[in-house]
Amino acid sequence: MNLLSCRPSPAADVGHLTDAPIALGPLLEEAASPDRGGVTTFLGLVRNHQDGRTVVRLEYSAYLPMAEAETARIVAEAAERWPARVVVRHRVGALAIGDVAVAVVAAAAHRAQAFEACRYVIEELKRRVPVWKKEFYADGTIEWVDPTARPARVERT
């Protein structure tokens, strides 16, 4: 894959939410261009544990039209704040442990802009995009995940 090729980006008709597996390569190609030398990537993978319980699989569902619109608004905000191109995909449907649940790729002329734009988009996505996660545990129980009900976690540096 030549990330810096000058051929046109893939058609922009792909939605931000998808029920197909997320492959990083095409997203890198979509974000990159010869004038953008810094590319950052955030991948959220399906984790096999949550609050001490073993997770075996999960399902994402979404309020699709709003999730698309809100993600587009966030990407547009990032484009206003940083000279960066940001590409986002979020899975819906059934996922297995290790699957890519979300991918954010930010490309800018320099790394600082790319890091900042990428961080902004993933944080705002988690805060604003209407997506819900149903976790299936090893003990047979099933729960809708409620991040607001969890004890606050301190980010360690």
Partner: protein, 81 residues
């Protein structure tokens, strides 16, 4: 005036329904729609006092106005990413 209420995820499970069309006196606010909903659909009584809401696919507040034909969505705590 008719208002369409959409329920998702845990709220949909609690209500047993995904789409509820409510007749409401105009003008109304999101809070008024919620009050009517709790009366009309018993499964929604357990919803939080101040749930996340969206009107016509944009985040809104309990005080936000709701107009004829609007789509009001009740959003359980978001868990994307």
């Amino acid at each position: 005036m008719p208002v369409r209420v959409l329920l998702f995820a845990a709220y949909r499970d609690a209500a047993g329904r995904e789409v509820i069309d409510l007749p409401l006196p105009a003008p109304a606010t999101v809070a008024e729609v919620l009050r009517q909903l709790r009366v009309a659909v018993p499964g929604t009584i357990a919803l939080p006092e101040r749930p996340l809401v969206a009107v016509n696919q944009v985040h809104a507040r309990l005080e936000s106005p709701v107009a004829d034909g609007d789509e009001l969505a009740l959003l359980p705590p978001l868990a994307g990413g």
